[in-house]
Structures are given as structure tokens and as C-alpha cells.
């Protein structure tokens, strides 16, 4: 892991920037005229080696998404924002960097049939380019891959819908009809949005940043939807796309809505990935399933650390499942209990592929009904969630007051949850003076979680940062606990 990872962590831990709205305004011009639609019947684009993909250029015409016109609710500059400000547009380019070349050399040494270049390696392309279905093996060079993660990666392969999309009929087309053509609707559901991201940012079939890749130099993945969404350069404008004609992003508790949708979407992707990893022939036990820093730390004389795990086995505690495992919500019990069964199996010295595969499936089944849930947050509900996450993070600690048994991942996830919650709290109850205090404590936690310059791991033998974080968390708990007498 290198600077790239550091950037990722930094991105994850960045304080929320105040104003992320209307990021495409810079590219937007003004035009009041009606949209001149092309003829209704557009002949279907013939099948290409890329299947139904048409490429980002197909969307970027000046009169479509590559122009400067600005009409409320429409996204005429989407392609420009994407190409100019969105790192996804560079996803393919990084496959040509020296780091990627080195990775390929390291991974492919001794294998004659291995792809000679990252731009031909399906393992890389499935996330670093726009593909309709995950590819396998060595992939012929295809200029469409140069787009990186383009429009169709998230919105769906467009061959069958792009023709209608440019007509005035598109708006009135029912969502089911659009979906049948391959269009992916992302405006009406945060869960759908989060799932789309999680396909790569957590992984899935054919998209596996496993320990081999990380060891060869790939940054680790640590996806949290609310943070990613906040930091994302938006190529769309506020629009009421939901069935009840409200804008998802105008919800007063948007950050928490996103956190909630994200934790289920991330868990779904994580469990599917685990299920896929149990396939015969894959590396097993897959080390990327385990907490990075339970092994990756210098050997030092730190008795507090040694007491964290008594059996000398790394903990199976994937980043993505932490917010669910911290939950004590009875509605989540079927899911959380099946995840704990899975944890028991993964924490064996030689986890059984078949058992793990079955338990992952059971967990996925328990997860399905939760993916579609809508959450209406009230201040007491937000506070209850915070307390649940705080107490959940302490569940492995014997003294019950510090996070000494919690890993960096668990503490970072707690920080992200509390940060999303306090942002929601600020809009729900603008008068509450506790919000400011909580934010101050969160800033302490954030500063303690940051790695030393030059490091991609906590790299300290001292318990002091853990104690500082624990103290800040205790203060937040005290502020939010309804039992605490308020002045």
C-alpha cells in the first residue's frame, strides 16, 4: 500500500466539506429553449465486441451531457464534470502507471499464461473500465476501456436505451420499461446507488481486491457510502426523482440515510464476495477477509495489545460488516446472529469453505428484506443509533468503558457512523448546543485515527490514541444518553 491508500484514508476521514452542492454549476450555462429531440425512432446500434456498451463518448455530445446548457433538473454537463473532476474517468489510466506494471509483474511471475499488462487483465479491468459483465482471463485491447469507469458502469449498458433516452418519450416511460432496456435508475433509491458503488468499492464476482492484489501494491478498500457520496464530485442537479417526488439528497437526514443504505449495501456486497471467495481454486483462507492491522504491526512490547486476542488468530472483522455487527436492533437479529455464526467459522484456524459459503448465503437471505427499508429519523432515533454503535464497538472489551479491544477499523467505522449521525442531528435540531460539542469530540477521534506521515497502518505501540478516542467516545455517549441530566 502506498500514497494511494493514504489518499483513500484521508478521503475517508476528511471533515465534511460544507458545500458540495451544484458542483456542475461551473460548467453550466443558461438556456431556456426547449430541448430539440432527435427523431423518435433510432435504429438500434449493431452488436459490437463490447455487447451493449456504447462508450462514454456516446453521451458526451454538446447537445446532450457534454454541453453547458443549464435546465433545472437536467444534467447537461454531466460528461464534463465526470471527465474533468471525477476520478472514475481516470480509472483505466492508472492501469498504465509504473505501480500497475509492477503489480502485474509480481502477480504473474512464473505464470506463462498470465496477462502481460494490466489493461488486458480481467481482474483489473472489471473495476478499472466499464464492462457489461465481469470478464475473465486475458482480455483483448478495446478502446472503450479507455473511458475508465464511465456513464454506463453505473447507469447501465446503453445500446438498447440510448435511443429512447434522447427523446421526449423517455420521461414518461415507466421505470420497469427502462429497467427492461438495461437502464439503471439511480435517482430514486439510495440503496440502489450504494449497491452500484459497492460492486467495485467492496467487490463481487470477478471483482476481488484480495490479499494477493493488496500485497502486490493495490490499496486496500474501505468503502463507506455516506462519506464517499459527500466527497463525490456531483455531475447531477437536485431533482425529485423518487416515486413521491422528493429529492433524496434534500432529506434533512441525508448523511444518515446514506450511511444506513450504505451499511446494508456494503454488507450485501461483502457477503457475496465472501461467498464467491469460497469457490474451489481461489486462495483460501482469503487473508483480505481479516483485519489488516491485527497482523500488520511491528512486533512491540505492548501488553495492552496482546490482551486483545487471546488465541493469536487474526479477527474476522471485515470493515464492511462492522456497522451491522455493532447493532443491537432486534429487527436486525436474524442478520446479525447469522453474521456471528459466520464469524465463528471464519475465526477457525482453517475455515471450512462449504460452511462459510452456506452461512454467507444465510446471511444474504436475512439481509434482503432490510435492503428496501425506509428510515425516518427523529432526533431520539439518531441518538439511540449512536449509543448502539458506541456500545456495540465496546462489546469485545472486558472493562466496558474503553475501546482497548477494538481495532482501528472498528474505531474508524464508529467515527464515520457518528459523523453521519451528527450531521443529521444538526438539521433535525438546529438549536441543540450538544451538536457542536459532539463535533469537537469527533475531531479529536479523527485526529487520533490518522496515520503517521509515511504510514499506511496505525504504527504506534502506545495505547494513548486508543485511550484518547475512548475518552472522546465516552463524552459523546454522555451527551447523547437520555439518562444524563441535561442542563
Amino acid at each position: 500500500m502506498t500514497a494511494a491508500t493514504a489518499a483513500l484514508f484521508a478521503c475517508c476521514l476528511q471533515a465534511v466539506t460544507a458545500d458540495t452542492q451544484a458542483q456542475d454549476q461551473g460548467a453550466a450555462g443558461a438556456s431556456d429553449g426547449p430541448v430539440a429531440g432527435p427523431p423518435a425512432a433510432v435504429p438500434p446500434i449493431p452488436a459490437t465486441p463490447s455487447g451493449r456498451l456504447v462508450g462514454a463518448a456516446s453521451c458526451a455530445a454538446a447537445s446532450c451531457h457534454g454541453g453547458g446548457r443549464r435546465i433545472e433538473g437536467l444534467h447537461f454537463s454531466a460528461s464534463l464534470v465526470w471527465a474533468g473532476r471525477d476520478p472514475h474517468a481516470n480509472a483505466w489510466d492508472v492501469l498504465n502507471t509504473p505501480r500497475s506494471k509492477t503489480m502485474l509483474e509480481l502477480l504473474g511471475a512464473g505464470q506463462a499464461s498470465a496477462p502481460q499488462s494490466a489493461v488486458q487483465d480481467a481482474r483489473c479491468l472489471n473495476c478499472h473500465a466499464t464492462v457489461e459483465q465481469p470478464l475473465t482471463g486475458t482480455v483483448p485491447v478495446n478502446f472503450l476501456h479507455h473511458d475508465g469507469v464511465g456513464c454506463e458502469a453505473c447507469h447501465g449498458a446503453a445500446r438498447d436505451w440510448i435511443g429512447l433516452h434522447v427523446t421526449s418519450d423517455w420521461k414518461s416511460l415507466p421505470a420497469t420499461a427502462k429497467a427492461a432496456l438495461g437502464y439503471v435508475e439511480l435517482g430514486s433509491s439510495l440503496t440502489e446507488r450504494a449497491r452500484r458503488c459497492a460492486e467495485c468499492h467492496v467487490g463481487g464476482v470477478g471483482r476481488d481486491v484480495n490479499h494477493d492484489l493488496i500485497a502486490a501494491g493495490h490499496p486496500r478498500l474501505d468503502y463507506e457510502f455516506s462519506t464517499f457520496h459527500t466527497n463525490y464530485p456531483k455531475h447531477w442537479q437536485p431533482r425529485a426523482d423518487t416515486p413521491d417526488k422528493t429529492d433524496l439528497e434534500q432529506s434533512p437526514t441525508f448523511t444518515l440515510d446514506a450511511w444506513q443504505a450504505g451499511r446494508f449495501a456494503a454488507a450485501e456486497a461483502c457477503l457475496k464476495l465472501l461467498e464467491d471467495r469460497t469457490t474451489a481454486g481461489r486462495p483460501w483462507p482469503e487473508l483480505a477477509e481479516y483485519s489488516c492491522f491485527s497482523c500488520h504491526h511491528n512486533l512491540e512490547n505492548r501488553s495492552w495489545y496482546q490482551q486483545r486476542r487471546s488465541n493469536g488468530r487474526p479477527g474476522w472483522e471485515t470493515w464492511s460488516l462492522t456497522p451491522l455487527r455493532n447493532s443491537q436492533n432486534p429487527k436486525l437479529l436474524p442478520l446479525t446472529s447469522s453474521i456471528e455464526t459466520l464469524a465463528g467459522q471464519m475465526n477457525q484456524s482453517a475455515p471450512d469453505r462449504l460452511l462459510v459459503s452456506r452461512s454467507a448465503r444465510t446471511s444474504l437471505t436475512a439481509l434482503q428484506p432490510l435492503l428496501t427499508e425506509n428510515h425516518q429519523w427523529t432526533t431520539p432515533a439518531v441518538d439511540a443509533l449512536c449509543l448502539e454503535q458506541i456500545r456495540g464497538a465496546r462489546r469485545t472489551t472486558t472493562d466496558g468503558t474503553t475501546l482497548a479491544a477494538a481495532s482501528w477499523d472498528e474505531m474508524a467505522q464508529l467515527y464515520l457512523a457518528l459523523r453521519a449521525a451528527v450531521a443529521a442531528r444538526r438539521t433535525l435540531d438546529t438549536q441543540d448546543t450538544r451538536n457542536e460539542k459532539i463535533s469537537q469530540h469527533l475531531e479529536v477521534i479523527r485526529s487520533q485515527l490518522l496515520f503517521q506521515p509515511g504510514y499506511d497502518s496505525p504504527g504506534t505501540s502506545s495505547i494513548d490514541p486508543v485511550l484518547a478516542i475512548s475518552a472522546a467516545v465516552n463524552q459523546i455517549e454522555l451527551l447523547l444518553d437520555p439518562k444524563t441530566p441535561q442542563p
Binding site: M1, T2, A3, A6, T102, E105, L106, L107, A109, G110, N210, H211, D212, L213, I214, A215, A216, G217, P283, W284, P285, E286, L287, C292, C295, H296, H297, N298, L299, E300, N301, S303, Q306, Q307, R309, S310, N311, G312, R313, S349, A350, G454, Y455, D456, S457, G459
Partner: protein
């Protein structure tokens, strides 16, 4: 007294299988359980004073004192100076000169052990845990009576055979033999080695019949040392990752002669023995001393091959779950068999691990790398001989391949490869032990060390092995060592002073314990570049 009697009973009550008297069979669980452990006090009769004592002299059959042995072995082991009579106060002990083996048992009551006990769920009880006692005492621990919690019975707690740590019998063999006690011909070597007049010049194989381990043979000696310093599954001597995680200090890489030099010497080297007795010995055995330089180089190679062989045997035994479960709590993959620092390092941007860009199989931890380092040198030096060329090699590639096919390796392939490697390396070692290195081969040892020292990226433990061997063959002084390889000498002697209770008394004694707070940071801060630079300097000065 009752406890000793009970112990004797326990150790002898086991049904005695037909005795396989070969030296090979001796260093096995069966070999050990045929014997009875005797208290160190028995040895002290002769070995804790000087050979001037009339009783000692009488037993040695040499009124003037033989000087074949020293006679103050136990005093050296304890770090005590001898005094003429009991009324005199002994001089203060030089703590750094104490043989650490004497502290082996008391360290089970140290602050580190206390903390480990808490983590392992046996607070304050590790000195009763056979998994620890297997290395921290000289006793064969298999038949010690256990209470329901798996700990040895409290009655045994203060038995001197436990509390004396790794004492005489730990390396020289279990000395008693209840079955033949009182018989005309004593079988146990505890009696035989002074009762049999021809003991000194007796061939090792014959001594083995009395339970005496061969410490003259470098191969046998290495096996004895590495049974704890690397591990031996059959004997229940395994440091598991669970123990490390609870706080056991990392086992340092082992190099026989270097370790022997660190040990307070309780023996006389052959050339230090009286000439008359040497002549007698040579006449009786037909043996002649080898050229010292040749012998040193050969012993380096033999012990390296045996260390590799034993470590492969341990890996195979643990992978096959062959270790006795009542002694060894280990499941495969046993992380302790893998390179500690493959995983245990902070993640740094562009650190040396990333720059090294070791090709092939990133993310698959390798086995502990250091046992292969000197063994590879030994193989390179000896593989040109016709006998070696006829063997299939000593398995580096096969073992490596078996560990990378999936994380922690394909268990079945690994067992197969490790067993083959162990057998082959042992065979080559035993042939090498009785042969003589040619001058070319001796030069190849030096050249091989230079090559290994200037290789691209050498891990910390392997670097220590290479440096130690180089310093050994070049008789470097302590100052030179420190100057050449400041990173590689952990100054374990500086350690941390602790007060240990003297077993069976109310007094305490100050000891020096390994302090991980001092010894671990240099490992974390190790930079292969500077190690390589030191060897480049050596190479340059050699070529000038």
C-alpha cells in the same frame, strides 16, 4: 520426599517397551520415557566443586584430578564462584555470565509469564503447564501426573527436577534407570559414567545404551539444542503462535557454534584437556582431532543442515497434527511456523519490503526463512560431491512451491515436501560430519557467505545467521561485531533485571531477563540496505 518418590514412581510406572538402544531412538519420546530423571543434587556430588575433592578424585579413578572435565560445571551453570568452605561469602555473581538455562524454570514465574498466563487463561499457573515445562525443564514431561485442569499436580511444583530448569539432564540425557537399579551393571548413565572405568573412551553408541546423549557429534548436539530452540513436536516442545501472541519473546534464529560461544563454558575443549589423556583417548577410539578451521567450517554446515532438517520435521509434524495433543495446543496452519515479519510489520509507503519487489506470489506468507539460509549454503558447498549429487537435493524449491499455492500452502504437498527435505538434509549432514572439507570447499563457505550477505534483500533473522557465521569463521572480536553489524546484535544480556525466588527457599536471586522493549525495536527498524552495505565493505576489503 514423598513428592520425589511419587515422581519416581510416575516416571517409571509407564510400561517399558522393549528398549531400542540406538542413539537415534534415544532422542525420542520412547527413549526418554525409558529413563528416570535424577535430581541435579546427584550431579552436584562431583560437578559442583573441583576435581581436587578426594571423593571426586576417587570416583574419577585419578587421585591427582583428571582435568578431563572441569569439576565446577554446576557452579558455572549457576554463575556462582566456588569458595573453599561454606563460611565464606561467595563473590557477587556476574549476572551476564549465568547460564540462562538455569533460569529456564524460574522464568515461568516472571512478570512476562504472569502476563502470558492471564492471556492464556491459566493465570499464575504456567510453571505447572506441561506445554511450557517441556522446554523450561529437563524432565520428560509426558508422564507427569496432571490434575483435572491439565496442569501437573501441585505436589510436583517444588520438585528440584522441575525447578532446576534446563540442567545437566536437559542436554546430556535422562540419567536414571529404575529398572536396573541395584543390579551389578548399572544401566542409567547417572551411575554408569563413573562406575564404568572405560566410560571416557567408550563409543557414543554404547553410551547411548545408558541413556547418555551424544554431545560430541555436532549433528546430535544440534538436534538436542534445536529440540527447544526450533522445536520438536514429538517431545512436546513447540512455541505456538498462541504463546507468542500472549507475550513469549520471539525465538531467535539458531546457529550452533555462535550459541555455544554465548554460553558460559562448563566444558574443556579437546585441546584444553591433558595431553596424556588425549593420547589415551586417541589410542582407544582411533579418532584424531581435525584441523580447527576445517572443523569449524564443517560444523557450521552440518549444524545448518540439521537445523533445516529439524525445522522441516517440525513443520511436517504440525501440519500433520502429529504433536501429542495433551502437550501441544496447535492447529494447522500454525502461524508460528511462518515468517513472523512477513505479516508483522507496519505498513510504510515505499518501505524496503515494497522496493524489494520479490517476484511471485505476493500475499502468501512463507515459512520461517532463516533455517534455509545456511542450509542452502551447506548444500551449495557440498552438492558437487558425487554422493550429494545422487540425492534429490534438500527441497527448498519444493517446500517453497507447496507454501505458495494458497495462503499457508497446500497442506498435503507441504507435508510431503517437508518430510523429503528433512530426510535428505539429515542424510547429507551425517555424511558430511564424518568427512573432511577440501580447501576449495572451505573457500566456498566463505565465498558463499559473502554472496549471501550481498544478496538483494536479506530478512533480519537470515542476516543475523550470515553475520554470525562470518564472524565465527573470522574470529571477530565483540567490538568488530558491533562495528560491522550494529543492528544485528540485540544485547540480550542487557535485558531487564528481575528478582527470582530461589526454588525451595525464601530467598530471591537477581536475574537478567530478555526485555522485549529493548530487543524488539531493532528488529522493526532493521534495514537490509545497511546490512548489505556492511558485507559490500567486507567484500571490498577482501579483494584489496
Amino acid at each position: 520426599m514423598r513428592s520425589i518418590a511419587a515422581l519416581l514412581l510416575l516416571l517409571t510406572a509407564a510400561s517399558l517397551p522393549a528398549q531400542d538402544t540406538s542413539c537415534q531412538a534415544l532422542f525420542t519420546r520412547t527413549g526418554f520415557t525409558q529413563r528416570t530423571s535424577l535430581p541435579i543434587g546427584n550431579c552436584g556430588d562431583c560437578h559442583s566443586g573441583s576435581t581436587q575433592s578426594p571423593r571426586v578424585a576417587a570416583r574419577l579413578g585419578n587421585p591427582g584430578g583428571s582435568k578431563w572435565i572441569r569439576g565446577d560445571e554446576i557452579l558455572i551453570w549457576l554463575g556462582e564462584t566456588s569458595v573453599a568452605d561454606a563460611s565464606q561469602t561467595p563473590a557477587p555473581r556476574d549476572l551476564s555470565a549465568v547460564d540462562r538455562h538455569a533460569q529456564a524454570w524460574t522464568s515461568l514465574r516472571s512478570t512476562t509469564a504472569e502476563q502470558m498466563g492471564v492471556v492464556l487463561g491459566k493465570p499464575g499457573q504456567l510453571h505447572r503447564d506441561r506445554a511450557c515445562l517441556a522446554c523450561h525443564t529437563s524432565l520428560p514431561v509426558y508422564n507427569l501426573e496432571c490434575e483435572s485442569d491439565g496442569l501437573i499436580s501441585a505436589a510436583l511444583e517444588s520438585d528440584v527436577r522441575l525447578t532446576s530448569g534446563v540442567s545437566c539432564e536437559g542436554c546430556h540425557g535422562t540419567s536414571g534407570d529404575a529398572a536396573t537399579q541395584g543390579a551389578d551393571l548399572p544401566n542409567g548413565w547417572g551411575t554408569a559414567h563413573f562406575a564404568l572405568r572405560n566410560w571416557r573412551n567408550m563409543p557414543p553408541d554404547e553410551k547411548c545404551r545408558h541413556g547418555y546423549l551424544d554431545v560430541r557429534s555436532v549433528a546430535s548436539r544440534t538436534k538436542i539444542c534445536v529440540s527447544c530452540h526450533v522445536g520438536n513436536a514429538e517431545l512436546g516442545r513447540v512455541v505456538t503462535h498462541e504463546m507468542y501472541a500472549a507475550g513469549h519473546p520471539p525465538l531467535p534464529p539458531f546457529e550452533l557454534q555462535t550459541f555455544e560461544q554465548q554460553m558460559p563454558k562448563h566444558w574443556r575443549e579437546y585441546h584444553e584437556k591433558p595431553e596424556l589423556l588425549r593420547q589415551e583417548f586417541e589410542a582407544a577410539t582411533g579418532l584424531k582431532p581435525a584441523d580447527p578451521a576445517e572443523q569449524q567450517a564443517r560444523e557450521l554446515l552440518v549444524s545448518a543442515l540439521i537445523t533445516w532438517s529439524e525445522s522441516m520435521k517440525l513443520t511436517a509434524d504440525l501440519a500433520e497434527q502429529k504433536a501429542p495433543q495433551e502437550l501441544v495446543r496447535s492447529e494447522w496452519p500454525e502461524f508460528a511456523q511462518f515468517d513472523c515479519y512477513a505479516c508483522h510489520h507496519d505498513l510504510r509507503h515505499d518501505g524496503w519490503r515494497q522496493q524489494a519487489q520479490i517476484k511471485g506470489h505476493p500475499g502468501r506468507p512463507r515459512l520461517i526463512p532463516w533455517p534455509a539460509t545456511l542450509a542452502e549454503l551447506a548444500w551449495n558447498v557440498t552438492s558437487s560431491t558425487p554422493e550429494a549429487a545422487a540425492t534429490p537435493g534438500i527441497g527448498f524449491a519444493e517446500v517453497r512451491q507447496a507454501t505458495v499455492s494458497t495462503p499457508f500452502g497446500d497442506t498435503r504437498e507441504l507435508i510431503k515436501a517437508a518430510r523429503a527435505a528433512a530426510a535428505s538434509a539429515e542424510q547429507i549432514a551425517s555424511r558430511l560430519e564424518t568427512s573432511t572439507l577440501t580447501p576449495q570447499q572451505q573457500q566456498a563457505v566463505t565465498a558463499g557467505l559473502l554472496n549471501a550477505g550481498t544478496a538483494a534483500t536479506v530478512d533480519y533473522d537470515s542476516a543475523r545467521q550470515i553475520a554470525w557465521s562470518w564472524l565465527l569463521l573470522n574470529s571477530a572480536t565483540a567490538d568488530e561485531q558491533q562495528k560491522l553489524f550494529p543492528q544485528l546484535f540485540l544485547q540480550l544480556h542487557q535485558g531487564r533485571a528481575e528478582s527470582d525466588p530461589i526454588p525451595g527457599s525464601n530467598e530471591t536471586v537477581t536475574v537478567i531477563r530478555i526485555d522485549p522493549a529493548l530487543s524488539l525495536p531493532p528488529i522493526a527498524g532493521y534495514d537490509p540496505q545497511s546490512f548489505r552495505a556492511a558485507f559490500e565493505t567486507i567484500r571490498k576489503s577482501q579483494s584489496e
